[in-house]
């Protein structure tokens, strides 16, 4: 049977020599693998009969604060030895106690006697040897180097002496030893090495041939990856834009904070129109009023047309128009305000312009309503612009969007006549009302100073997007749940 080795087993075997014994610590140094890994590998090699693993308890010695001090200043027995030597080899006890203090003297003389380096008699201490090295110094030095001793050995006894003198402490450690019982060289020569990954080194030296590559569980669930994704609704809006570009429309934009003048008055919406009330329009607290001084011509025309119809042939609304109301600042409620600003500055025909942007209404949030949503307005000004042409352009737009069935119903908007409400047919949903359109009223054209007929439409893009994407809740278009966005597949 062929022996197969993992990469790490290979690495460990390479570091071993036949017959040697070594600790885990040494093996750590040799292989660079951590303790945890090595213990696991040792088990595997043991099972393969290559090594034996021995566990034993050792005591690691650590010097105490006092021990470190003694190493520097000298142990009591060393101090006594030095003093005696200075005094010629012997001295009176009284004298020695005076010099060293009682404590140091007592400990020192005890150890010198015990170790046979001095004798006591007649009130005097005398050295019996000329040269002497304190055995506890060597032990302490070993301690500082982190020496350890096996349980029950003579070394342990010596270290315990140090501990009893409070110069060191012994910490119990379990240690693993490895005895190599087979010849690693032979094992390696016969074995195939298993590798978990292919490395550039294997390719460089061709050693990949000697490896067995580990089999993976290829049907296991991989870690989740969340690609960066574009927002699906932004992409939808871009698609609408592209359709309009293809139809020859130029894009315009206008301010979110708008004067009622551009949002309502210019569009022939009377100042007491219900849409201008607090329930249908967001008013601003800061700032409150805009400036109309740059538009005095239009303002004067709007005033006359609202009050009497001016020269338009209209009866007007028959009330006193108030410029202060027109200057009131709001969040635009319709992108038709942008269309109006465009027309106020455009005289040249043909003109085809669209705008897509957020509009705002004080609706409470539920599955069908949000206080802000995307609206999409289009205007076409041409010498021969007509209602029938407008219907054709709208039909074309939806056809290009992939919606061939459109239905027109008479409707009412203050600024268009005839006005039309539009329905599209969505598979599974039936007819859904999605837009309003019409020919701008002569009163609106005259207010803006426009000479040619203008067809216009406005539609809530959110509704169309929901219908096309099959969403049942408008809030999903603006969800703040990142997991929902991560899980929603990309539309293609």
């Amino acid at each position: 049977m062929e022996l197969s080795l993992s990469e790490n087993e290979y690495r460990v075997l390479k570091a071993l020599r036949a017959g040697e014994k070594l600790s885990l610590g040494e093996l750590e140094e040799r292989t660079g693998l951590d303790r945890q890994t090595l213990m696991a590998i040792a088990e595997l090699l043991k099972d393969k009969g290559i090594i034996r693993v021995k566990r034993r308890v050792v005591y690691r010695c650590r010097p105490t604060e006092e021990g470190r001090k003694a190493l520097g200043e000298g142990l009591p027995e060393e101090k006594l030895f030095r003093l005696l030597r200075e005094l010629g080899g012997s001295a009176e006890i009284r004298r020695l106690v005076e010099e060293l203090g009682r404590n140091t003297f007592s400990i020192g003389v005890g150890w010198l006697k015990k170790l046979g380096a001095a004798k006591v008699g007649g009130g005097r201490v005398a050295l019996t040897v000329k040269e002497w090295r304190a055995p506890h110094r060597s032990l302490l030095e070993e301690c500082v180097r982190g020496a350890s001793v096996e349980e029950g050995s003579s070394g342990e006894k010596a270290f315990r002496e140090l501990a009893s003198r409070n110069l060191a402490e012994l910490v119990e450690e379990k240690e693993f030893w490895i005895e190599v019982i087979a010849d690693p060289g032979e094992v390696l020569a016969k074995a195939r090495v298993e590798a978990s990954r292919l490395t550039p080194e294997m390719l460089a030296d061709g050693t990949w041939r000697s490896y067995v590559f580990k089999r993976y569980n290829v049907t296991a669930e991989p870690p989740r990856v969340y690609p960066g994704k574009k927002h699906f609704y932004v992409e939808f809006i871009n698609m609408v834009r592209r359709v309009l570009y293809e139809m020859g429309f130029t894009e315009a934009e206008g301010p979110y904070v708008e004067m009622e003048f551009w949002n309502f008055d210019v569009l022939f919406q009377a100042q007491d129109h219900p849409a201008r009330e607090i329930h249908d329009t967001f008013w601003l607290r800061q700032p409150r009023k805009g400036r109309l001084d740059e538009h005095s011509d239009i303002v004067e025309r709007v005033r006359r047309i609202h009050e009497t119809g001016g020269e338009t042939g209209s009866r007007g609304w028959g009330y006193r128009w108030n410029p202060d109301i027109a200057r009131r600042l709001i969040l635009r409620t319709q992108t038709t305000a942008v269309s109006a600003r465009v027309l106020a500055g455009s005289r040249e025909v043909p003109l085809r312009v669209f705008t897509i942007g957020k509009v705002f209404r004080p609706d409470v949030i539920d599955a069908k309503h949000l206080p802000e949503f995307y609206q999409f307005d289009g205007i076409v000004m041409e010498e021969d612009m007509s209602f029938a042409r407008l219907l054709g352009i709208i039909r074309e737009f939806f056809e290009r969007l992939g919606i061939p069935e459109v239905r027109f119903k008479p409707g009412y908007f203050p600024f268009t006549e005839p006005s039309v409400e539009g329905y599209i047919y969505i598979e599974g949903r039936g007819w859904v009302e999605v837009f309003g359109a019409g020919m701008f009223r002569p009163e609106v054209l005259a207010s803006l100073g426009v000479e040619h007929p203008v067809g216009a439409w406005g539609m809530g893009l959110d509704r169309i997007a929901m219908d096309i994407m099959g969403l049942d809740d408008i809030r999903k278009l603006y969800t703040r749940r990142v997991d929902y966005l991560r899980e929603t597949p990309v539309r293609w």
Binding site: V257, P287, L329, E372, S386, R389, L391, Y412, P418
Partner: protein
């Protein structure tokens, strides 16, 4: 748009008893109405705001019969003079009034319900919630006396409010009745409240409540109707609509002599008006040819009067029940409706113009591609924002604030995209980390230099939230974004309260600037975010600018 509930059988009876409900729905669709059957057996009809004459079955039937070709032109209603007199004295807070009498209305339970609904819908639409006009309906035979006086009455005047059951003062009625609490302040003046008297009795306190003594009941035969308001034109027009619809039911309209009103000597006026339609204008506007005789035919089907004047002109007569005809273009609409929008051939699109996309979308799309390429999820947050979030970001910047927000959390417009991204991060702490989100979009800043007091800026912002994110990571993304957009930039040490000191830098380039940094722990705490976060926000308005048909504000 106003929605009314009707008994479909009654409506079918008036229009054409042989019709099915579905056919009726299709017919009404062509008349701007949407019909929805209800479980109760009733139908809900959505009527367009410009046609208050269709807020009751008789009005709908009149229009429907025209479109069916069963009746044409203006119906001739029976109108007689009466010996009722309306004396208009001073009521400065609500100066105008019109009265009408209707004989032979014959109110039954069903009609009473519909009539009250008609009255209420007129209040909410043309009446602007009773501020502009309000209507009172009385049983003529219970009305004490034939001289009706309209004047301001002192608040201690006593009467019995409708459905209250005891006499009380005007003051008490304004305080104690639900109608009083809702509408009591509309026409109240320091010296009193407008009131209508018959004999010595107060029969109506417009626009609040009627007196109980003239209460309508099933069995009431003849009506007295009052319309009061602040705008004479609307008062007279509304009265014309009500009178016409009672007459359509078969009632005889009685005119009341008016004293003390300069503009009218009797009411209802039942005004008709002539308007000339140039059929060349109509043809151009519609996009196909309409001859004068065709135009006249269509107008008559729409229940207007019409007469061909010559080969290019029709004289239309606008009946008293139509208040929506302001301009000949409104006649053009009626012609289109009579033809049927589904029978108008849409003209095919001709390519006559070359499109000009806004340059900023090219920039936005490039930036979006790059951010997505770096693993960021694009998000789309609201323009409406929580104004206190700027404070949470330790900023004191001016921002756009709303007068009437729906909730405090949506009380203003966003000044920075990061305020929305931080809020989003706070709500997404449970998802797998790292959270990497970005947005490209508009923010709004107050700006007294602009005519609207505000300017729009175009920003790109990104936020990373994860246990290990930091300055270096987002700085690397910002560098990659700008370098790949081909933007040369300078980066410098900066201070910004939203970010940690020493871990925020300002980036400046031609056409924009911004900040990049590690979000300050206090900001994270303020948003309830429990992970480190870092991000950047860059104003790219200048970079995105190009020739657009309208100046950005």
């Amino acid at each position: 748009m106003p929605v009314i509930r009707l008994n479909p059988q009654r409506l079918l009876q008036l229009v054409d008893p042989s019709m099915t409900l579905e056919e009726l729905g299709d017919l009404l669709f062509r008349l701007k109405c949407e019909v929805e059957p209800l479980e109760t057996g009733e139908i809900e009809v959505e009527v367009n705001a410009d046609r208050p004459d269709m807020l009751v079955s008789e009005g709908i039937a009149r229009a429907a019969k025209g479109l069916l070709g069963k009746e044409k032109g203006i119906p001739s209603y029976r109108v007689v003079d009466t010996d009722y007199v309306l004396v208009v004295e001073k009521a400065p807070t609500r100066p105008y009034i019109a009265l009408a009498v209707a004989y032979g209305v014959n109110v039954d339970e069903e009609y009473l319900t519909e009539l009250v609904q008609f009255q209420e819908k007129l209040h909410t639409t043309v009446g602007r919630k009773r501020r502009k006009i309000a209507i009172g309906l009385h049983d003529l035979d219970k009305t004490p006396g034939k001289t009706i006086v309209y004047r301001e009455a002192p608040l201690d005047t006593m009467f019995t409010p409708l459905h209250v059951g005891r006499r009380m003062s005007i003051r008490e009625a304004l305080k104690e009745t639900p109608q009083g609490r809702e509408y009591g302040s509309i026409s109240l003046s320091p010296s009193g409240h407008p009131a209508i008297f018959a004999g010595s009795e107060l029969i109506s306190l417009p626009p609040v409540i009627n007196s109980d003594i003239t209460r309508l009941e099933p069995g009431t035969k003849n009506l007295l109707i009052d319309v009061t308001g602040t705008d004479l034109e609307t008062v007279l027009a509304t009265m014309d609509i009500i009178a016409s619809n009672l007459a359509e039911r078969g009632a005889t309209i009685g005119r009341v002599r008016v004293e003390g009103l300069e503009e009218a000597s009797y009411t209802p006026v039942l005004r008709t008006e002539k308007m000339v339609l140039d059929t060349d204008f109509a043809s151009r506007w519609l996009g196909f040819r309409v001859t004068p005789s065709e135009a006249a035919e269509h107008l008559e089907r729409m229940r207007l009067g019409a007469r061909v004047l010559d080969e290019a002109r029709v004289e239309a007569v606008i009946p008293p029940y139509r208040i929506d005809v302001l301009h000949p273009v409104d006649l053009v609409e009626d012609i289109a409706i009579s033809i049927g929008y589904d029978r108008i051939e849409p003209k095919p699109l001709e390519l006559r113009t070359r499109s000009k996309p806004l340059p900023r979308w090219r920039l936005a799309d490039a930036a979006r591609d790059l951010m997505v390429g770096m693993g960021f999820q694009e998000v789309l947050t609201f323009m409406l924002a929580n104004p206190s979030d700027l404070e949470r970001m330790r900023l004191a910047e001016d921002q756009i604030l709303l007068e009437n927000p729906i909730t405090a959390e949506l009380g203003g417009l966003r000044r920075l995209l990061l305020q929305q991204l931080l809020r989003l991060a706070a709500e997404n702490q449970h998802v797998d980390m790292p959270l990497k989100v970005f947005e490209v979009g508009d923010v709004v800043a107050p700006d007294p230099g602009e005519e609207t007091g505000a300017r729009t800026e175009f920003h790109v912002a990104a936020l990373v939230m994860s246990p290990r994110t930091g300055y270096e990571e987002v700085q690397a993304y910002l560098y990659a974004l700008l370098r790949n957009l081909g933007v040369g930039f300078r980066i410098m040490e900066a201070e910004h309260p939203t970010f940690m000191e020493g871990r925020v830098a300002r980036v400046v380039f031609e056409g924009g600037e911004g900040f990049v940094g590690e979000i300050h722990p206090e900001v994270l705490e303020n948003f309830g975010i429990k992970y480190p976060a870092a991000g950047f926000e860059v104003d790219i308005t200048g970079l995105a600018s190009g020739a657009a048909p309208v100046a950005r504000r």
